[in-house]
Subunit: 108 residues, 4 copies
């Protein structure tokens, strides 16, 4: 994605510290929560069938992704590598047999 | 990424409503903020040089990515498409000439 | 509350900028979300009956309050005044007759 | 504050589960972050001197307070008690002599 060149063309690098980008990411996640806050879980599962709400949620997901990609970029982190490592770690902490159907948190 | 099969093997689908996953995403972003909250912007820009803090931040970025991927999956949204569309929209709202070096928010 | 003297005794004022305190507030709210994320709405309504979860939630609510009080303090905002003003504004935007039983968002 | 009667007059109790209110709280905190995200720490410390930004931040602080008060209410938690307990706990974990001028996190 062209997130980096988008920022550089506008000379926004001084604003794009990890601290600021993490705040921006959190702000966008807050807007996403606001779209879902009064829905029941069942309504939330069907939300994309509503054209207006679906478009707003799609836009928020886009914003969250943009800031996450940009944050990873300035930190020098590969998102897919970081997620794959974390998933392997979770696979160790939550073995299939013991975790089936349970949301209980595993010890660190 | 194997996020979907990870959840399905553990029969976690009932927990993985958009509402619940958005909360989980926000919770992980909160942990990321906690890593950066007392740093100056300059310290945040150098944080990956600190081995321990860097590893924690990499793990948080991994967690955020996992929940964002999973949330997009249950919503039926393609993350790259959603981000690309939003970036095109922002390019229109923030023309290069008018936005250079400014963090001022454009009207919707 | 003794939030201010607590910070001053430890010479934490340099860390307590509005920006940093807002991040800390968001981090604590993230921990609160994590306590509730996999619960159904009904389970969340009964969560204080669970001794361990109830104690964790009470502690998170305490943390959120501390950072909100401290943030308001450094901004020079009276929390009760700010909330009262906002409530009056919401009363205007959400007249009782038109808003009964509906979570629809009013225009700004 | 009249937060409870405000909600009851509008018959909003069914929406006001702890889960939903925690999401709403997080959404408002996200809006607060958005006001501060591109500011330097120094600019954030002076933000209330800007009439427009100051009014927006005051309104966000009001919203955050309203949802925190309402959440505590439905959970049956006294905010001041919860914060006072947590502050006493922090005083034990961060003794003045050892914590002066340091943002290092204490062990749990």
């Amino acid at each position: 994605m062209a997130v980096r060149s988008f920022a550089e063309e506008r000379e926004w690098q001084p604003f794009h510290t990890p601290k600021n980008l993490a705040m921006a990411l959190a702000g966008e996640v807050g807007e996403l929560l606001a779209e879902l806050q009064w829905l029941t879980p069942e309504q939330s599962a069907a939300v994309m069938a509503d054209e207006l709400a679906g478009a707003r949620i799609r836009a928020e997901i886009g914003d969250v992704t943009i800031y996450l990609v940009r944050l990873a970029e300035v930190l020098g982190i590969d998102l897919v590598d970081a997620a794959t490592e974390k998933l392997a770690d979770s696979a160790r902490r939550y073995p299939v047999g013991r975790s089936r159907g349970s949301a209980a948190k595993a010890p660190q």
